[in-house]
Symmetry: C3
Subunit: 442 residues, 3 copies
């Protein structure tokens, strides 16, 4: 697909997925995963409510049919049909007539952002509530008489939590884990952007044929979903070299990168190369144990290093966790910028190899293999080039670096770092040397 058509595809999916009522569990999550199966061969697994997951329990499945606050005339003043953020996630059913005084403690609004509906949940504490704009709050406050307050929701103890899974088997059992979360309702950056980026990244791997490493994709409700998946698949952890948590990557701001807890893992080096080779200077976020599901994957019992590439990272934009995180804020074009960096990163990780030279004592004779200029001495022009400040990426530079580092220990990422040459070019030249039987893969 061209860049423009990728962006348009994303825009289409954004429109279809934005209105769905996602949460930890429920029909909206199943609908979301089903839409994504159009993009990749996702398996949808159900984890039964009540299942013990380490220190947690998979909650009852929650569904909501309708919810509103209406005035004494029956006019809906706040309506879940207009925006599913209006209802606190996991609200209990309620149907009562009540005064503003009784209702007020159940109303959540943001004085600092008067036209934004905040996003609120009460997953593990039985409760109910409405989220409204500050303007709506003032309007309700002015009204006389009783309000009709209805939340038509249900809890299913025999329900389940839905998780989307895809394992792309590579040449090696060693794998990378890519995780995104599906539990946020109508917000576009957090986390429709992450879900779509993840789906399209998986798609691009499949389209390019069998990868070198295996790649595992999971679409989970945050925290409990990631934990449930890990509990079910503990045996995979030993094969996981590292992970990507893809979230909040569709905003209008600068691209950013949150490092792994290691700081210098191959994931970190590769992200930095991906940005460098893209000519982008990202915002750097040092590791912190707050964040998304890296909290689970990198916890002491798993210690999977995880990086994230973001574009308007959670917490760091005004519209975060409100109704303003919508399709005015996020566009397919912006998401495709993040997708480009993720794709470049995925290629670097997958194509990273270690070589050993077959001519390790001194240099092999490049000239007799047609890899060296026939006429020697002429690199004074190169010198002049350097003096006048021109950059000079030459194949010969890449050859020199590759042969020098080909001691069976250094990988292509290290070669690209040290040589300052683009990873793509280093990899291309490595293939050429390999075809000349000058180096072998370790």
């Amino acid at each position: 697909m061209s860049e423009v058509s990728v962006a348009r595809t994303i825009d289409d999916y954004l429109k279809r997925l934005f209105p769905l009522q996602r949460s930890l569990t429920g029909r909206g999550n199943r609908e979301t995963l089903t839409v994504l199966t159009e993009l990749l061969p996702l398996t949808i697994s159900e984890y039964p409510s009540g299942t013990q997951v380490y220190d947690w329990v998979v909650p009852d499945e929650w569904n909501i049919h309708d919810a509103w606050i209406s005035d004494s005339n029956g006019t809906r003043l706040v309506d879940h049909k207009k925006n599913n953020l209006h209802v606190v996630g996991y609200s209990e059913p309620i149907s009562e007539n009540m005064t503003f005084e009784d209702l007020a403690p159940r109303l959540h609004y943001l004085p600092a952002l008067p036209d934004a509906i905040p996003y609120r949940t009460s997953y593990y504490n039985k409760d109910w509530g409405f989220c409204v704009t500050a303007q709506q709050y003032e309007m309700l406050k002015q009204k006389q008489g009783l309000f009709q307050v209805v939340i038509d929701s249900e809890f299913l103890p025999d329900g389940s939590m839905s998780i989307g899974e895809l394992y792309i088997e590579g040449n090696r059992r060693e794998e990378y884990l890519v995780s995104t979360y599906i539990c946020h309702p109508s917000m576009a950056n957090d986390n429709l952007s992450g879900m779509l980026t993840t789906a399209l990244l998986a798609r691009s791997i499949i389209d390019r044929g069998t990868p070198e490493y295996s790649w595992r994709f999971v679409f989970v409700p945050e925290t409990i979903g990631a934990l449930a998946y890990l509990k079910q698949n503990e045996d995979i952890v030993e094969n996981v070299k590292g992970g990507l948590v893809i979230t909040c990557c569709g905003g209008p701001g600068r691209l950013g990168y949150k490092e792994s807890y290691c700081g210098d893992h191959i994931l970190d080096k590769s992200v930095r190369l991906a940005f460098r080779d893209s000519g982008i200077e990202p915002i750097y976020y040092p590791f912190a144990p707050s964040g998304s599901d890296e909290r689970q994957y990198s916890s002491p019992g798993f210690r999977i290093p995880v990086v994230s590439i973001c574009k308007d990272k959670y917490h760091d934009y005004r519209e975060y966790h409100t109704s303003l995180d919508n399709l005015d804020f996020v566009t397919g074009e912006q998401i495709s910028q993040s997708l480009d960096v993720y794709t470049r990163l995925q290629k670097i990780l997958d194509n990273n190899r270690v070589y050993r030279s077959n001519y390790s004592k001194g240099e092999p004779n490049l000239g007799k293999r047609g890899l060296y200029p026939k006429m020697g001495g002429g690199n004074n022009q190169l010198g002049l080039g350097k003096i006048s400040g021109e950059s000079c990426y030459s194949d010969l530079d890449a050859i020199n670096w590759l042969l020098f580092l080909a001691d069976g220990e250094n990988d292509l990422v290290t070669t690209a770092e040290l040589s300052k040459l683009p990873f793509d070019m280093v990899e291309k030249i490595a293939n050429r040397l390999y075809n000349h039987k000058m180096i072998d893969v370790v």
Copy 2:
């Protein structure tokens, strides 16, 4: 005690201890240590003159009764009673009438600081001399006739060197060593300030009950005293995690920190935290083998890492080793500022612990333990806080960092460093998690 009353207490002791005739040995040292027993239960040990101490020998005990230079009329022109710096330390007895020409080579003065009496000693080379201001020197030079020159001192081969010792037994045999020197006569920063800071630091440990580590305090004459103590107590060295040498911490200048020879020892990390949490940016002194008794403790045969916190470090103030290092230069309030940092350092070292999570796979469920906000999603306010530049020390941040690092390897100092949260807060939250049985001490 309130800060004000601490400063007043120090001021009282400064006045009492300042005039005493301290040296390597002698009655002035015993009087000094005896005064300090009012503040802490110090044991005063006597190390006999003539004892071999590694490459050194404990010198004969030296006492001085009186000393002066008078004119032909018997008027005392230089009088040891007025300032004991007037006599070169360890001067031999003398009683002679002599001309200025004969006397001049025995007179020490500082042309660059005309109203200062310099501090001079001749411990290991039999000699005698007077220290005078440049003004006194000029005055003596003008005088005609013979001077009466008397030093009424004595050397006791059967005497001894006095050392103050205090061992505060903690829960662990591992210990920290705190050392200060008592051999300098009437100078306030060097080193009355160090002696009083040391005494009050010991007092504060005792007052807070049994510490975790054992804490050993020694009040020694510089070099020979530290060596004699080490020789006598060689078996303790294997338990010593590190040391503090407390000296020159009462001046009017900026607080400073001399690093250990390691540079990144737990002592160094803890000093940096103590300053950071105090909101103080200290002058940084890289390790150098010159200095005070770290020369002995950190020598190749012992290699005990030592740090020092100072306020007008030796060599680095104009009044150093002169009579101007007096009670105009040093105040109880200034010393109490150093004491505050030392106390914070001591608490960090003593409370530093390593934890292991009891829920290491993923996060434990904080909500069911009342450690997480009941209503989720609301951290967009946090986001707004961060955007507007407010710092936001939250308990939840501390919980996240502690649980993430609780792998049985990281300590609280590391947690406070990485999280940028105050050590006190990190420790308080660690105790809370421990009480919830979520983490255990390793």
Copy 3:
């Protein structure tokens, strides 16, 4: 020799060696090495043409007797006798009359440097050609008629490649390897400067008596010469601690330093000390696998760390690989500046030692050995000195650092680095402590 006479000596040799026809092989190389035997007892070894050297073969010996382009009148328009750069190195013999159109593809010139003859070779691809100034090229282009084109060269399959070798046996079998290349014809910086610096460095070692380490000097044609020497002497590699490749060190520009592939090898530390102690801030060149014979010595199969000190490094000056790299560009005085740093470096490497204190518990008593001021307390003057910004290199500082670091692990280079004291001074004081039997060599 005085500095002036060293510079004059170099100038004399520059004049004699500049015109010789050097190449990979041939009589000019033998003549060059023979001249150098006046400076040092070099062994000239012959490596037969056709010898297999790893992935390479020693080429046929090449000699050239005469070469020219003349006009129809027999007037020589381009004449090898005037500058041996006029003929492409390793040109085949030719004798033909030809038009400008046929000749033109065989002419090499530099439009950007119209008065420079470029340097070109065709070692491993049978070819011939002339190098001319852009002005000569234009002049030839204007001429009508046929040109007589003659290259009177010969290839000797039974010839050989000449290499100069010198092994200076030290107290230890561990050695340093110093390599320079002799294959460049009439260019002064690249590499007459390197050959003469190497020869004089070897001379200075011999003149100072048996060195501590062994020092091996090789004068080789670049690449094939270095490889042939390594192939012949593979057993020495295990004793080689590191190497110097001496090239391009006689230009008018700033001194520079190319680091080893390790970056912090004893070679790198010593080069940095040599510059620091000389008061010179060099241009820093990070390691790159391009360059000179470090490409061979540091290759994966040998991994000998190599540093270079340069003055107008290859590629980095306008005159590089042209006839402008001549005796106007290079002077004996400039070469002697590089030689000074190389000599200082050599002394540091050779005198670097590890000590262990014989008095490791605490400090030894310096006073009783006459190493400490008799009168104590007087270092307030030192303090004043430091405050007013004067540097103060004292013997006592050196003594303190040496005794502190004398634990059998630290070397004099580390001591000079940490103490910021000159290596020479540290070494002198170490000898004094050794003579006092306070420290022993490990």
